[in-house]
Amino acid sequence: MTEAYIYDAVRTPRGKGRKDGTLHQITPMQLATQVLQGIRNRNDLDTANIDDVILGCVSPVGEQGSNVARVAAINAGYAETVAGYQINRFCASGLEAVNVAAAKVISGEADMAIGGGLESMSRVPMGSDGGAMAMDPDVAFKSYFVPQGISADIIATKYGFSRDDADAYAVESQKRAAQSWQEKRFDKSILPVNDVAGRPVLSHDEFMRPETTMQSLGALKPSFVQQGQFGFDNIAIQKYPELEKINHIHHAGNSSGIVDGAAGVLVGSKEIGEKLGLTPRAKIRAMASVGSEPTIMLTGPEFAAQKVLKRAGMSKSDIELWELNEAFASVVLRFMQALDIDHSDINVNGGAIAMGHPLGATGAMILGTVLDELERSGKETALATLCIGAGMGTATVIERV
């Protein structure tokens, strides 16, 4: 069977996902376009060799609507033979897009494909695409729908994580991200964003707050108390009746940041790499997605990781580096607890709590980050995974070659 290799991985810096964010002036189409152009230029690619571009996007409406992937390929000046489509696996869209690209290569449908994603959260706010899950009573009742923040707080309550646990995790994420930037650990992947005149606009992650301390976080009020009182805490308890009440520990400082950004990963067969003179950086060992209980919603990574390890024929001890999207502190705390993973082996360069989570792009970003880190630290194997809305997990295992 054909195997899929990663030849390159790039990402834009992440801009604050608000009107005062530096990337707010840049269209989401430009973010995707510049990523595709970056992959082409860095690898001196004749894009006619690329069969497909798959981009994740979580709010695919308005200027992110109507198949951004195909349109971005056209806009980037790719060969017109390059197909494209947009997928939505919520927060794991970017990783799922890479997995789909790899699957196409493995199945023989494609020789080379790009998987990635984009999200301009400042321009197309979360929830812009509506959706039945929250607002159609038929679905909301049947699924015991609660918003994600409540789910994160259920995890904290059920598995015994305190506000201090979550805040300490967040402080460490900030510290690691700051150190990584200082030591230029992201340089290999970062693609500064330019304006239409070609002038640089943003070259670093601007959401970070390296000065964060336990004291500064302590001043923040929990974010989901009001939602909880509205009825969602009670729905959570109907699903988890062993809990007397929901302990609300999450706030803006220990949850992922709202940011703009895009990323792409170039995937291909061994043969296409040889033909084009490209050096593979890693092999994709296995991929998996799984559904999990939708009310607690964010515990999927545990099950996705177990599933992907099984498919790879590997065990936990075979993985040297772990990367789990920091959607909320409790998500990572629970993952470490469930799989008995040491904090020094996971998210070693910080994560979305410090740098932000551009929904559709994050999966491709963290895969690139962990690949860079494998190379920097001389390690071989890594597992990247994300928790996902509506209760899912997606995971990928890569191995350096």
Binding site: P137, F141, G231, I235, Q238, P241, E242
Partner: protein, 731 residues
């Protein structure tokens, strides 16, 4: 030509359609009125000499009170094989559009129909009004305009879930329909539900004037460019937030037990994406779905038909003259006595409120003073009325003051010696044919009657706490109680506007006995190592008002202890010990009596909040393996239902329906079930027996089903059959 609607055309060519059901005091939608409604609409639309029509009612007390629930309750005959859930929608829509399609209607409009609302319009009554193009209402603030269908487990199925949100917006409509809260005319006018509020005598004239001035009309929502006030539809951010919030609140309030609430939310959400022709089809589909669900049938039977039947005197023995209690002798001015004095004085009964000291009696009267003060300060009760009511209550410590009373209710301490002494001293001063009743909740009535020389005039009148809020009164027949005594007790209950049930004597009667099993099962589970939070949450999820530990704290654990001790003493060897006893003993030892001393299964904080006492886990170790929520739920409901079935088998209960009404209104048995007997029927008698046996094998003989249920299961019998809402009668 139409027996339920009078049809008169005036010189202007306006048809006056007067709804007036023969031989009924109130108009309701039954098959005849539905049929006649279509007939007169067809006639108005088909006769060129008629320019429009006005609906009104021939009843002085109301316009139209909604559907005849007996019709919905089960034997809903269909008309010509048409989907019965869609008939009214189709007829009202024909009135609204003149039977024209969208394009033609937009071009020509249709003949105007106006409603002249001269009294309350509820349910289908208000839906007829909403489907009329113009709506005039009399200015009487007592007129109620509402859609109360959800309260009996169905939804407004004649366009109410569609027209109301198009007039007042989705959020306001959600609130009005899910709560069933009616609007007053002035409020309805402000919201656009009504276009004119005028004196009663002018309603028809004003409606006719509008028809005369309106050659053709198109409903608001049939006009091009119509928008919901506040927005609607899947891509409208405000509507999305409204629906998300409404779903959350509704799930919190219903605990997923009331399908009608979700159906209303769905009708409003889905209808918000549609034109009226499609929207009413969606509404009818949800309406059909509810009618197929046993919840609606159970709720209609117990909450409406049977509740109303007992309130209207179904339990009263025939051939006995109706009496009115004028002066009540209330023995004991504690919480119960004070409450009974309040509800009695409130309806104009003089109350002699007796207690051991004048201070104690005055304290009992303070209860009424405080409630009145609150009502006065909120503007709900005029000061003069309050004073007049308080003047009716005479606190005293002298038995002599009881002399002229025409009914005595005793609510002193649950102590046999005290009861005996009070009864004897009272009998000495009262008239020789005056009925003596006891509000005891634990001591058999026949035993207490021995303290009275006229046991045929001794009866139990058992109230629930708080008396002013709890709707039920359980009347207990002693062995020798006669029918005249029962009739008087029922007349008194009717006077104070409570809902009665009548049961035979037994320790704990029906309600306390059944209720006790709920609390005890909760304690038993905690003893076994079930997490207290799981027990409490599942109690609420099962539809009980509060968890068993919480309610046990309210009742007071030392009281449970005392009752158990007294029962044990009275029954001797026949006493069956409860698995909850260990729990109660331990709590007694720890001096945790409940809310009364600030510590029970819960810890009561100074800020008024409470939480499950952390120390419970030290005394009742939480097991590693916890039961599923379904298992806990089955234990809590099955245990109560088994006890109710025993009461029925033993003849404590006389009918299934009195058990259902009593359990719902007395002890908060989940209303969606229709009560324990409806619950057994819905589970299936045979399945219920299997489940009870399973629980008995797993947790103890208290779950073992009585022989009655085994026999019924074998014969394929149920507690209720079609057309007989009273249900099975005890053998």
């Amino acid at each position: 030509m139409t027996e339920t609607i009078k049809f008169e055309v005036d010189s202007d060519g306006i048809a006056l359609l007067t709804i007036d059901l023969p031989n009924q005091s109130m108009n309701v939608y039954n098959q005849a009125l539905i049929r006649d409604t279509e007939t007169v609409i067809d006639r108005v639309l088909g006769d060129d000499a008629i320019i429009g029509a006005v609906w009104t009612s021939g009843k002085s007390i109301g316009f139209l009170a909604g559907a005849d629930l007996n019709m919905l309750g089960g034997d809903g005959a269909t008309t010509d094989g048409e989907d019965p859930a869609f008939v009214m929608n189709r007829i009202f829509r024909k009135m609204e559009t003149g039977g024209k399609d969208r394009k033609l209607l937009a071009k020509e409009g249709t003949k105007p129909f106006a409603a002249a609302v001269n009294g309350l319009a509820l349910g289908g009554g208000l839906e007829l009004v909403l489907a009329s193009h113009y709506r005039v209402c009399a200015d009487n603030p007592k007129i109620q305009l509402g859609l109360p269908e959800c309260q009996v487990g169905v939804l407004p199925g004649a366009g109410g879930t569609q027209r109301l949100p198009r007039i007042i917006g989705q959020q306001a409509a959600l609130q009005a329909i899910t709560t069933g809260r009616p609007f007053k005319p002035a409020e309805a006018l402000g919201l656009g539900i009504i276009q004119e509020v005028v004196p009663l005598g002018d309603v028809v004239a004003k409606a006719k004037a509008w028809v005369k001035a309106t050659p053709s009309v198109t409903a608001l929502w049939d006009k091009k460019g119509f928008k919901f006030p506040g927005g609607a539809g899947a891509m409208h951010p405000g509507s999305a937030m409204t629906m998300m919030g409404a779903s959350a609140m509704a799930q919190k309030q219903t605990q997923h037990n009331y399908p009608a609430i979700q159906a209303v939310l769905s009708c409003i959400y889905e209808g918000g994406c549609l034109d009226m022709d499609n929207a009413i089809r969606v509404e009818s589909a949800y309406f059909s779905k509810l009618l197929q669900d046993p919840t609606a049938r159970n709720m209609i039977r117990s909450l409406f038909i049977n509740k109303q039947a007992v309130e209207k005197g179904a339990l009263r023995p025939e051939g006995i003259e109706k009496k009115k209690v004028k002066r009540l002798g209330m023995l004991g001015a504690g919480l119960m006595g004070a409450g009974i004095a309040y509800v009695s004085a409130k309806v104009g009964i003089e109350v002699v409120l007796f207690d051991i000291s004048k201070e104690a009696a005055e304290k009992g009267k303070d209860y009424s003073r405080n409630l009145n003060q609150k009502a006065v300060s909120r503007g709900k009760l005029p000061e003069t009325k309050s004073n007049a009511m308080l003047d009716l209550i005479t606190p005293t410590d002298s038995y002599a003051d009881l002399a002229d009373c025409d009914l005595i209710i005793e609510a002193v301490f649950e102590d046999p010696a005290i009861k005996k002494s009070v009864t004897e001293q009272t009998e000495a001063v009262i008239g020789k044919d005056i009925v003596f009743s006891s509000n005891t909740s634990t001591m058999p009535i026949s035993g207490l009657a021995e303290n009275f020389t006229r046991p045929h005039q001794f009866i139990g009148i058992h109230f629930f706490s708080p008396v002013d809020k709890m709707p039920l009164v359980e009347i207990i027949m002693g062995e020798k109680t006669d029918d005249e005594t029962l009739a008087l007790a029922l007349d008194y209950v009717s006077q104070i506007r409570k809902t009665p049930i009548v049961v035979n004597d037994s320790r704990g009667f029906f309600t306390s006995r059944t209720f006790g099993t709920y609390v005890q099962e909760g304690y038993a589970m905690v003893m076994e190592g079930v997490k207290p939070a799981l027990v409490e949450n599942v109690g609420k999820m099962a539809g009980m008002p509060v968890g068993p530990l919480a309610v046990g704290d309210e009742v007071a654990i030392d009281l449970s202890h005392k009752v158990a001790k007294a029962t044990k003493a009275a029954l001797g060897n026949a006493y069956v010990s409860s698995p909850a006893e260990g729990f109660v003993e331990k709590m007694m030892e720890l001096e945790r009596y409940g809310r009364k001393n600030g510590k029970g299964s819960y810890q009561y904080n100074e800020d008024g909040t409470k939480e499950i006492w952390k120390g419970l886990g030290d005394h009742f170790v939480v097991a590693d393996v916890q039961p599923s929520a379904d298992e806990v739920r089955s234990r809590l409901l099955t245990r109560q239902a088994v006890e109710a079935a025993r009461c029925f088998e033993e003849g404590v209960l006389l009918t299934a329906s009195s058990g259902d009404v009593g359990a719902i209104f007395g002890i908060g048995f989940p209303p969606y079930t229709g009560g324990p007997f409806s619950y057994i029927d819905t589970v299936g008698v045979a399945e219920f027996v299997i489940e009870s046996d399973r629980l008995a094998d797993a947790y103890g003989e208290r779950f073992r089903p009585p022989q009655l249920l085994r026999d019924m299961a074998e014969k394929g019998e149920t507690f209720y059959t079609a057309g007989n809402p009273t249900g099975r009668v005890a053998a």
